[in-house]
């Protein structure tokens, strides 16, 4: 088996099917809705925060298997993490996908499931699918763009 089939035969399929976390929160602090303009995938995300740390995350994902799998990793690993830690995990993931050397350890501690995306590295056109949930989460966490709910 080679090519894309190898990617789907690995852990990504199980990760995508895991459906970790709810689709909405009863009282979210922040929301974000992010699209991948090339394919129309969309992540609608809600957050509960305590200070700068995520306490709860809910996501509605309209996307491919890679996007779903990445969203499920977020649902597992983002609660308890700060914006800086999430950015560092995203940067490590991005560096891995680009074949560049990550500044920290790979996979980052607490984000070990990201290793499941290593087979995506050679499929450049799909990197955006994996990164979309991170973009939604970081947009929600950004004071400038995240939409606080009154």
């Amino acid at each position: 088996m080679n090519g894309a089939a190898e990617m789907y035969a690995g852990g990504i399929k199980e990760l995508a099917a895991a459906h970790t976390g709810p689709e909405s929160l009863p009282d979210p602090d922040r929301t974000a809705s992010v699209d991948n303009p090339f394919c129309g995938d969309r992540v609608d995300l809600q957050l509960a925060l305590e200070g700068d740390r995520v306490t709860a995350i809910a996501q509605r994902v309209r996307g491919c298997m890679l996007c779903e799998a990445a969203a499920n990793v977020l649902a597992r690993s983002a609660p308890g993490a700060s914006r800086t830690e999430i950015e560092a995990a995203r940067d490590s993931l991005q560096a891995m996908l680009r074949g560049a050397k990550a500044s920290g350890e790979w996979p980052p501690q607490g984000w070990e499931a990201l290793a499941g995306f290593e087979p995506v590295r050679r499929h450049k056109s799909r990197h955006g699918c994996v990164l979309l949930p991170f973009a939604a989460l970081l947009e929600a966490l950004s004071p400038a763009t995240g939409c606080p709910l009154d």
């Binding site: 080679n2 394919c39 298997m65």
Partner: protein, 424 residues
């Protein structure tokens, strides 16, 4: 594409049917002989971009190597030859569309530019309160320019809905197109479903209300010569890269009576009559809309592509294509959980097939098909309003060109079955 109601003429065919075969056509496309991921290439993404035959490549190379110069204003031999080649391409476009005159042909960078040009120019003739009617099935290129125009000028944009099949629902058109409607914009063929718009009905209603009819012909033009006069439309835009020509060029045909009323869009060299420090007087007709150096090489290539298309034996090609369509529809319907988006009958449609598979996202499907050398497109196909109307987020799309064969169709069906097994 079936001829009935499409305005596709198929007349004046130079190549005898007996001399035509898929193999003879394929020999003209060297790219078809390459391999992808260890498999023969089965290219079924022609609705996005198709390939150029050797004849087009030779025309481009010939122009580059022998006649490359600017057009209209060169006082030297190369300038004369370049102008002749460029204007010959304009003539080819006029013949392909059966335009009344090549003076009605404007070279653009593609369909998107053609729609934007028309929206900008026509927009200068519209006033707040005027209405524009567009269908929800449009490619974004024939939707967003009109939407933006309406936002900018305070016009009302009304939408032609679709049936469950994705075909336009024209039942309420008489009511939708009112006396205040100044323009109706629809595609000739859907880039998602392959359904053919009944342009004669749309034209009849538009004419009755005094509205102009703009047609996005990007997906119809690749399927044989057209007759814009018989279709009774006012503007018709298409792209070269879907018609076996080079990228970066397209055609906007505008009926002369409309063309003469339009103010300029882009301004600069090549479209003026006289410039003084006090003001500028613009050329009339098509040249008014070709500011700057036009895409010369690309236009020459497009002309060669259209000449080539006009020589194909379309009745034979359509019979062959109908066979492929019938087999493809039958094969797709046998795949469990697959829903075809669009009409299910093989006749009266363009060979564009979108489908969704339960539990399998189109990006994942297309990615795995690529392992088998099968090239499809997955996503919203730049038709998000249509996707929303149909309750879909994305589909996989196979689209045929004149060089596709039964082997391509069987390769798709085989790989699709394997893909579904892997993803489920």
């Amino acid at each position: 594409m079936s001829q009935s109601g499409t305005g596709q003429s198929g007349a004046d065919l130079a190549l005898p049917e007996a001399d035509w075969s898929p193999a003879s056509l394929r020999a003209q496309f060297p790219i078809l002989h390459r391999q992808v991921n260890g498999h023969a290439l089965h290219y079924l993404d022609n609705a996005a971009t198709t390939f150029s035959p050797l004849r087009v490549q030779e025309a481009v190379a010939g122009f580059e190597n022998h006649s490359r110069a600017n057009v209209q204003r060169g006082m030297h031999q190369l300038g004369v030859e370049a102008t002749d080649a460029f204007e010959a391409a304009r003539g080819s476009a006029a013949r392909y569309l059966n335009a009344a005159s090549s003076e009605e042909i404007i070279f653009t960078s593609g369909t998107t530019f053609g729609v934007n040009l028309a929206a900008h120019c026509l927009g200068q003739l519209l006033r707040t309160g005027d209405e524009i009617v567009v269908s929800v099935a449009e490619h974004h290129s024939n939707f967003v320019p009109w939407q933006r125009l309406c936002e900018r000028l305070g016009l009302q944009m009304k939408l032609i809905p679709v049936q469950a099949s994705g075909s336009l629902d024209l039942d309420g058109l008489e009511t939708l197109v009112t006396e205040r409607c100044r323009l109706v914009a629809v595609s000739h063929v859907s880039n998602v479903t392959g359904s053919v718009t009944d342009l004669k009905t749309v034209s009849r209603v538009a004419r009755r209300r005094g509205a102009l009819l703009f047609v996005d012909g990007a997906q119809a033009a690749p399927h044989g010569p057209l007759d814009v006069q018989a279709l009774d439309v006012d503007c018709y835009a298409f792209s070269s890269h879907k018609c076996y020509g080079p990228t970066g060029v397209g055609v906007l045909w505008v009926r002369d009576a409309v063309l003469q009323t339009l103010p300029p869009f882009l301004v600069g060299g090549g479209m003026i009559e006289r410039v003084t420090c006090e003001g500028t007087r613009y050329l009339h007709g098509n040249r008014r809309f070709e500011a700057g150096t036009p895409p010369l090489v690309q236009a020459v290539g497009l002309g060669a592509a259209l000449d080539w298309l006009m020589e194909l034996p379309w009745p034979a090609i359509r019979r062959y294509e109908l066979g492929l369509t019938t087999r493809l529809l039958q094969g797709l319907s046998a795949i469990g959980g697959l829903s075809l988006v669009g009409e299910r009958q093989p006749q009266g449609r363009a060979p564009i097939f979108s489908f969704a598979i339960e539990g399998c996202h189109s990006h994942d499907v297309c990615q795995i098909l690529d392992d088998y050398g099968v090239a499809l497109r997955g996503g919203h196909h730049c038709a998000q309003p249509l996707m929303d109307s149909l309750g879909l987020t994305a589909t996989s799309r196979a689209s045929l060109a004149v060089f596709n064969t039964r082997e391509d169709v069987e390769a798709l069906l085989h790989a699709l079955q394997r893909t579904v097994e892997l993803l489920r």
